[in-house]
C-alpha cells in the first residue's frame, strides 16, 4: 500500500491498468476505484468490500459519450440525463454488459456517475475506460471523509489489498450521491443524497446546507456562460425562506466569504479571487425597492458584463429591466418556496431563453 498526496495521474493509471485497487477522493466520499472492465480487478474490489453478489456497483464515466457506450440511453432519458448531469447523482440505466457483469443489478441495470469533480473526470478521461464508483468503506460500515478514519476501520488484511491511496485531506461532509432509476417507465429515486429533486426543474432542500449545495450545483453547471456574458440568478421567495443562504452557497463556491443580507444597502459587490474567468459577484436585494424609476437608477445594466455573476433577491420586482437582463445575460430564474415541514424548501428553476 502506497499513499500519495498529489494527483500523479501516470502513477495512478499504471496501478489501475495492472488491476489495482485505488482509494481516491470524490465529490461525495472517498471511493474505491478499479477498472470496471477488468475481471480480476472487480473480484478484488468485491472481496475488499465484502460485497454480496447481486448488489450493484456504479461506474464513473468521463462524459456522455462514454456513458452511451456502457448503458442504453433512449432519447427521452438522454434529455433528463443532460439536464441532471454532471452532479452528485447516480443514474441507473439498462447495461450494455460491456463492464463486468457483477457490477450490474439483478435486473441487468448499471449505475453511472458523471461528477462535477475535476480529479475524477480527468482520471477517467485519461484512463479512457470506466472506473468503479463505490465508497471506500466495507459493506455495512459508515462512509469516509478522511484517509485516517478509513485506515482506522480497516483490518490489516484489508489494508494490504489496497494498492494506492490518493490522500487529498478531509473532504466536506457530503452525503453519498442521490440514486435515480431511469431504467423503468417512471423516474424513481432509489436513495436520497444531498441533491434531491422531484423533476429536473424542481429541487428539494431539507437544510440550509442542501440549499447551498443546490446553489453550487446550479452555479457549476452554468458558470461557463460567464466567459461570454453575465450569469444572472433571479431569486423570488418569501421572507426568511433562504434566499441569502442560496447566495452564500454561490459565494462559498467562488471563495467569497462573509456574505450578509444587502437589504439595507440594496447591493454589495464582491471581488472573486483566483478564478480564471469569474471576477465579480454582485448581490442585490430589492426588498426595499418599490418602483421602476428607482430600479432604473440602480444602473443594473451597467453591470451586465462577462465575468460577472449577478444575484437578485426579491427578483420578482425586477419589472422592465428583466428584458435587458435576458438580452445581455444568461438568466436563471429561481423560486424558493416554503413547504409544510419547516426545514423543507422547494426550489423551482427556470432557465430563461
Amino acid at each position: 500500500m502506497k499513499i500519495i498526496n498529489q494527483l500523479e495521474f501516470r502513477t495512478i493509471i499504471k496501478v489501475l491498468k495492472k488491476g489495482g485497487l485505488v482509494i481516491f477522493p470524490s465529490d461525495t466520499v472517498y471511493g474505491a476505484l478499479v477498472d470496471a472492465t477488468n475481471k480480476e480487478a472487480v473480484t478484488k474490489l468485491l472481496q475488499f468490500k465484502n460485497r454480496p453478489p447481486g448488489k450493484a456497483i456504479s461506474i464513473f464515466v468521463a462524459d456522455f459519450k462514454m456513458a452511451e457506450f456502457y448503458v442504453a440511453i433512449k432519447n427521452k432519458e438522454k434529455k433528463i440525463l443532460t439536464e441532471l448531469l454532471p452532479g452528485p447523482l447516480t443514474i441507473v440505466l439498462p447495461s450494455k454488459h460491456r463492464t463486468d457483469r457483477r457490477l450490474e443489478s439483478e435486473k441487468g441495470t448499471l449505475g453511472i456517475r458523471l461528477p462535477l469533480y475535476n480529479p475524477i473526470l480527468r482520471l477517467v478521461t485519461q484512463y479512457k475506460k470506466p472506473l468503479t464508483a463505490t465508497s471506500a468503506n466495507l459493506g455495512g460500515y459508515s462512509t469516509h471523509y478522511s484517509i485516517d478514519s478509513l485506515l482506522k476501520q480497516l483490518p490489516k488484511k484489508k489494508q494490504e489489498m489496497i494498492d494506492l491511496i490518493v490522500d487529498s485531506g478531509k473532504l466536506p461532509y457530503n452525503k453519498p450521491s442521490t440514486v435515480v432509476d431511469l431504467s423503468e417507465e417512471k423516474l424513481k429515486i432509489l436513495r436520497y443524497g444531498d441533491l434531491n429533486f422531484i423533476n429536473t426543474k424542481t429541487w428539494i432542500s431539507s437544510s440550509p446546507r442542501q440549499t447551498k449545495m443546490i446553489a453550487q450545483y446550479l452555479l457549476k453547471k452554468n458558470l461557463f456562460f460567464c466567459r461570454s456574458k453575465p450569469l444572472i440568478f433571479i431569486i423570488e421567495g418569501d421572507l426568511g425562506v433562504g434566499k441569502t443562504i442560496f447566495v452564500k452557497g454561490l459565494g462559498e463556491a467562488l471563495t467569497v466569504e462573509k456574505i450578509v443580507s444587502p437589504s439595507f444597502v440594496i447591493f454589495y459587490e464582491y471581488k472573486i479571487d483566483n478564478h480564471p474567468f469569474a471576477k465579480k459577484l454582485i448581490h442585490f436585494d430589492l426588498f426595499n425597492v418599490s418602483d421602476q424609476e428607482e430600479l432604473s437608477s440602480l444602473k443594473i445594466d451597467s453591470l451586465l458584463a462577462p465575468s460577472h455573476i449577478i444575484v437578485i433577491e426579491w427578483g420578482e420586482k425586477i419589472g422592465e429591466i428583466f428584458k435587458q437582463l435576458k438580452e445581455k445575460g444568461k438568466v436563471i430564474y429561481l423560486h424558493i418556496k416554503y413547504q409544510k415541514n419547516i426545514n423543507r424548501r422547494k426550489i423551482i428553476v427556470n432557465e430563461v431563453i
Binding site: 418569501d238 421572507l239 426568511g240 425562506v241 433562504g242 441569502t244 443562504i245 462573509k258 450578509v260 443580507s261 437589504s263 439595507f264 444597502v265 440594496i266 447591493f267 454589495y268 459587490e269 426588498f287 426595499n288 425597492v289 418599490s290 428607482e294 437608477s297 440602480l298 416554503y338 419547516i342
Partner: protein, 338 residues
C-alpha cells in the same frame, strides 16, 4: 484643531464642526419622511436628498465657525449605501480642493464606537477614556461586537452572518404591516404589554459558541408562526413584543458571552437600536450583574447617524497624522470593515 465633518452613509445628511471631542456646531437633516412611504431606505432618493441638503447644512455650520478656522475636512468613507456615500465624499473633496484643507476619511462604525465619548461645546460629559471597552453596535445595517482597545484600535469579536438586528425588527414590522421604520413602532407596542414574551420564538445562534449573530432563522419561524396562526386573531402587541424579546435576548446573551470571554466589563451600547429604552434596561441589568459600567451615546442624537461622531474620530486621526495623501485615491467603500 477644528474639523468639519460630513456624514452621508445612509438616510441622514449630517455636518458638524468639532474640536477634540467637543462639538461646536452640528446639523442633521433626517430623510426618514422621504423613505417612509417606500418602507425602507431607497438609495437614489437618499442620494438626491443628500445632494439637495448638503450645501445648506454646510452653510449653517459655517455661520457659526468660519471656514478659515477649520484645518481639516472629515468624511465617512463606508460602510453604507454606495450612492449616498458618494455625495459626501465628492463634497468633501470639493471643499479640500477649494479651501486647501487636509482630508481625513473615517469608518462609519468608528463613529458609533466613539459616540459615548462625544462632548458638547462646553466639554460635557467629562468621561475619561479608560481602555479597553466592549462595544455592541446595533443598527439597521450592523450588529457587531468589538473590543475598543485604544484610540483607533479595534478588534471585531463577532458580527451578523445575515441580517442586522435593526433590519430583522424592520422586516418583522413589515410582515405585521406596521410600516417603516419598524423598530420604534415595535418598541412602543411591546412596552404596552410590558415587553412580555408570549410565544418564545427561537433565539438564533445561542447554541453556537462564537460571538456571531444570525437573525434569518428567527425571521423564518416568525413567518411560519404568522402563517400557521392566520385564523387565530393574535394581537399585534404580543407578536411585536415576543419578536423584539427574541432579538434582544440574543443580543444580551452574546454580549454576556463576550464579557465572559474577554473579562471586559465596561460596555458601550451604540447605534440606532441603542435608542430603544427597553434594550438599554436589559443591557444595564446585564452589566450590573457583572459589576461593570455601561455607556450609551452621550446625547440622544448620537444614537442615529450624525457627523459629530465622525468629526471626533477624525480628531484622534489628526493627532496621529492620519490624513489622506492623495485625494484622488479616495473612493467610497460600501462594505468597509473595521
Amino acid at each position: 484643531m477644528k474639523i468639519l465633518a460630513i456624514e452621508t452613509s445612509c438616510d441622514e445628511t449630517a455636518v458638524a464642526v468639532v474640536e477634540d471631542r467637543r462639538v461646536l456646531a452640528n446639523e442633521i437633516y433626517s430623510q426618514i419622511l422621504l423613505h417612509q412611504k417606500w418602507g425602507g431606505v431607497v438609495p437614489t432618493i437618499a442620494k438626491r436628498a443628500h445632494q439637495e441638503k448638503i450645501d445648506f447644512l454646510i452653510n449653517q455650520v459655517l455661520k457659526k465657525i468660519s471656514i478659515d478656522e477649520i484645518e481639516a475636512i472629515a468624511v465617512t468613507q463606508g460602510p453604507g449605501l454606495a450612492p449616498a456615500l458618494e455625495v459626501g465624499i465628492k463634497k468633501a473633496k470639493g471643499l479640500v480642493g477649494q479651501f486647501k484643507k487636509k482630508l481625513i476619511v473615517v469608518n462609519h462604525l468608528e463613529g458609533h464606537i466613539y459616540s459615548p465619548f462625544v462632548q458638547n461645546s462646553k466639554g460635557n460629559p467629562k468621561i475619561e477614556f479608560n481602555f479597553p471597552y466592549l462595544v455592541l453596535i446595533v443598527s439597521g445595517g450592523h450588529t457587531t461586537l468589538v473590543i475598543f482597545k485604544d484610540h483607533l484600535q479595534y478588534q471585531v469579536l463577532g458580527e451578523t452572518i445575515d441580517d442586522a438586528a435593526g433590519e430583522a425588527l424592520d422586516k418583522a414590522a413589515k410582515l405585521l404591516g406596521l410600516g417603516y421604520p419598524g423598530g420604534p413602532v415595535i418598541e412602543r407596542l411591546s412596552k404596552e404589554v410590558n415587553n412580555q414574551d408570549f410565544f418564545h420564538f427561537p433565539r438564533p445562534m445561542l447554541k453556537s459558541k462564537t460571538l456571531n449573530f444570525s437573525f434569518s432563522g428567527l425571521k423564518t419561524s416568525f413567518y411560519y408562526f404568522l402563517r400557521n396562526n392566520k385564523a387565530r386573531k393574535i394581537d399585534l402587541h404580543s407578536l411585536a413584543s415576543s419578536f423584539q424579546e427574541a432579538v434582544f435576548d440574543t443580543l444580551i446573551k452574546k454580549t454576556e458571552l463576550a464579557i465572559k470571554k474577554t473579562q471586559i466589563k465596561k460596555i458601550c451600547l451604540v447605534g440606532g437600536v441603542s435608542a430603544n429604552l427597553y434594550l438599554r434596561k436589559k443591557m444595564r441589568d446585564l452589566v450590573k450583574k457583572h459589576q461593570g459600567t455601561i455607556y450609551f451615546p452621550s446625547f440622544r442624537y448620537l444614537t442615529s447617524d450624525n457627523a459629530a461622531m465622525i468629526g471626533v474620530v477624525a480628531s484622534y486621526k489628526s493627532k496621529k497624522g492620519l490624513f489622506v495623501s492623495d485625494i484622488n485615491q479616495v473612493d467610497r467603500l460600501p462594505r468597509m470593515s473595521l
